[in-house]
Amino acid sequence: MERFTTLTAIACPLALENIDTDQLIPARFMSRPRAAGYGGFLLHDQRFGPDGARGFILDSPAYSGTRILVARRNFGTGSSREAAVYALWDFGIRCVIAPSFGDIFASNAVKNGLLPAQVSEIEADQLLAVLSDAPAPMMTVDLEANAITCGNQSIQFVIDPVRRLQLLNGWDDLDLTLQHQAVIQDYRGRRARNQAWAFPTIN
């Protein structure tokens, strides 16, 4: 997994709440292989209509090369589809800042090296305002310091400390789990002995 330490990049304001994972990547694209890249599917139906591009903010030249998104509450709510993170990642997004995130989305994000940075509703509104007015909407997100700097604003963000370490170090859960192989086998043995009913049988 790619490590996340600090990032200075163009940030795009999405002043919307409840951007669910069905919007982030519509279901019809999820049968596609990842190898071809999911970036074109990101927020597809907001960006493209039957007559082509709709002039959605993400596609405006000022935000080309965006790597950070700022949104309103409940970003990534809904379906557990990790493809929502793939779409963000393949588009180039490495950090999403919002007042709250869908529970499964936030977990998926971290597992792919994408930072879900939580701020208050008021701070999100401030960042959205600064970005909308800025001619060159640059932002710095520093995970070591849990800090966002944008224009003359400086804001502390919140992230679960374990997730923070995972992102800083680029850790993969699997390597960690394999170190516990012996205790896993012990547990399995106990479960099979004491809760035989927990193992399915058909007769």
Partner: protein
């Protein structure tokens, strides 16, 4: 010993090891995979790993399966998805409930039906509505593809213990008012992030009185309130449901299991991080008007107007109403629908089909509609009871089982601009198709909308003259 909640008990019994930082490695008793799990199987292949516990893993073809014309699948991309699940499960020795299996259906309907879902288990699936299985007093939650791959490889998962929340519902639900109405009422009350990341237990008189189907509906919808998982303490009704299910323990093993399951209840003085109390008498038939499940109101209400609201909420409502093609401030019952859908893991169990049939019996639908049973087993039960005839006599299509128009992956789509009264769980923009407009409600309410052609209070339908 310290008093514990039901969730504490479920958690404690699955912890393999807890790290100093609080993350715990949990044992997974059941893992369901579906066509969408292909990303996870690819990760497995990349690492050249085997499935750790194939006999605890079950495949179900549901998201992409056709509801008509089986077994032919015209679209090669969709056919490829169904085939890929068959190949992946076949290769790893996993039991698959595939397209041609008499027990095929939606994963969250098949699990309970097959006795794979039991009290006291930890159940995961790469699908957010896995919370459904908590209705049995199980610890069940949805996971992403990376976690699916991790479970396939290790049969375990790292988790941090969530906070515990309880909603107690006193009193009794009124006539024609179902678990779906209660679920929408809860979500409208606490918001789509109201239970964010929490383990949510339902208790109280109104919950005890719910059927297993009703409890499944309620736990299913809890993900729309942001909950990590939802649960109801198992009782005699739960044990009776499990008995005689194909994969459930039998005879002595069942008796031993039940003895253990009886301890799966929240201790009297256990503490929750948050508790709410509601009264079932306050729940009306409830429908959504907007693009989030929290945008729900009693059917007797008016569509909200941005003018009544603070500016930020007002602009959200304006945008939602524009997408939905609705006028502010008019009665919900004035909204005409173009089609209806009865299906999904939320509301396509036998009790749901019976509730819809009770309304449709002797009546004709004014709009077209599709009914996709929750499983092929439910389909056969409905046919045995003659419900299929009631549906087709009303002019609706009674089809095969799958996720169908809940998500449209199999091609069962609502056309752009069309308005659908639906028993599903998400009214997100584009969920049922690009530009589709979804109103969520109970099966009885969808049936009522079908016969009048507009959103309707099912309690107001005049009796059918025979």
């Amino acid at each position: 010993m310290k008093a514990r909640t039901l969730f504490d008990k479920l958690w404690d019994s699955h912890v393999i090891v807890t790290r100093d930082d609080g993350e715990a490695l949990l044992w997974v008793d059941r893992h369901f995979v579906h066509e969408g799990s292909h990303h996870a199987f690819r990760k497995l292949d990349e690492k050249a790993c085997d499935v750790a516990e194939p006999s605890l893993t079950f495949g179900v073809a549901d998201h992409y399966v056709p509801t008509r014309g089986r077994p032919v699948i015209a679209d090669p991309e969709i056919a490829g998805m169904v085939q890929r699940l068959k190949d992946n499960t076949g290769k790893h020795g996993i039991r698959q409930f595939g397209l041609d299996d008499p027990a095929q259906g939606i994963v969250h309907v098949v699990g309970p039906e097959q006795g794979l879902t039991l009290p006291g288990l930890l159940i995961v699936c790469g699908d957010s509505h896995t919370s459904t299985h908590g209705a049995f007093g199980a610890f069940a939650f949805g996971i992403g593809a990376s976690e699916v791959a991790h479970v396939l490889m290790t049969q375990t998962l790292w988790q941090r213990k969530p906070k515990r929340m309880r909603i107690i519902v006193d009193g009794a639900l009124g006539l024609h008012i179902s678990a779906k109405d209660l679920a929408l009422h809860v979500i409208a009350t606490i918001g789509t992030d109201g239970a964010r990341g929490q383990a949510l237990e339902y208790a109280g008189e109104a919950i005890a009185a719910l059927s297993m189907e009703g409890r499944l509906t309620l736990c299913n919808m809890s993900i729309e309130a942001g909950a990590r998982c939802a649960m109801v303490g198992p009782d005699e009704l739960t044990f009776a449901f499990v008995k005689d299910k194909p994969y459930a323990p039998k005879d002595d093993a069942l008796a031993a299991a039940i003895r253990e399951w009886q301890s799966l209840e929240t201790d009297a003085d256990a503490i929750f991080d948050r508790e709410l109390r509601m009264n079932a008498a306050d729940v009306a038939p409830t429908v959504t008007w907007g693009v989030s499940p929290e945008d729900a109101l009693p059917i007797t209400a008016l569509i909200p107007s941005p003018d009544w609201l603070a500016p930020k909420r007002g602009s959200y409502v304006t945008e939602a109403l524009t997408y939905m093609g609705l006028q502010a401030g008019v009665p919900l019952t004035s909204v005409a629908v173009d089609r209806v859908f009865i299906g999904s893991c939320t509301n396509a169990r036998i009790e749901d089909l019976r509730a819809a049939a009770a309304v449709l019996k002797g009546r004709k639908a004014k709009v077209p509609g599709l009914i996709s049973p929750g499983s092929s087993t439910v389909k056969r039960m409905a046919e045995a009871e003659g419900l299929d005839r009631i549906f087709t006599d009303a002019g609706l299509v009674f089809a095969e089982s799958g996720c169908s128009m809940c998500v449209g992956m199999n091609g069962d789509l609502v056309a752009a601009g069309e308005r659908c009264a639906s028993t599903t769980n998400r009214n997100f923009k584009g969920r049922q198709g690009v530009g589709a407009r979804t109103h969520l409600m109970s099966p009885a309410m969808v049936a009522a909308a079908a016969v009048t052609g507009h959103l309707t209070d099912v309690r107001d339908l005049p009796p059918v003259r025979s």
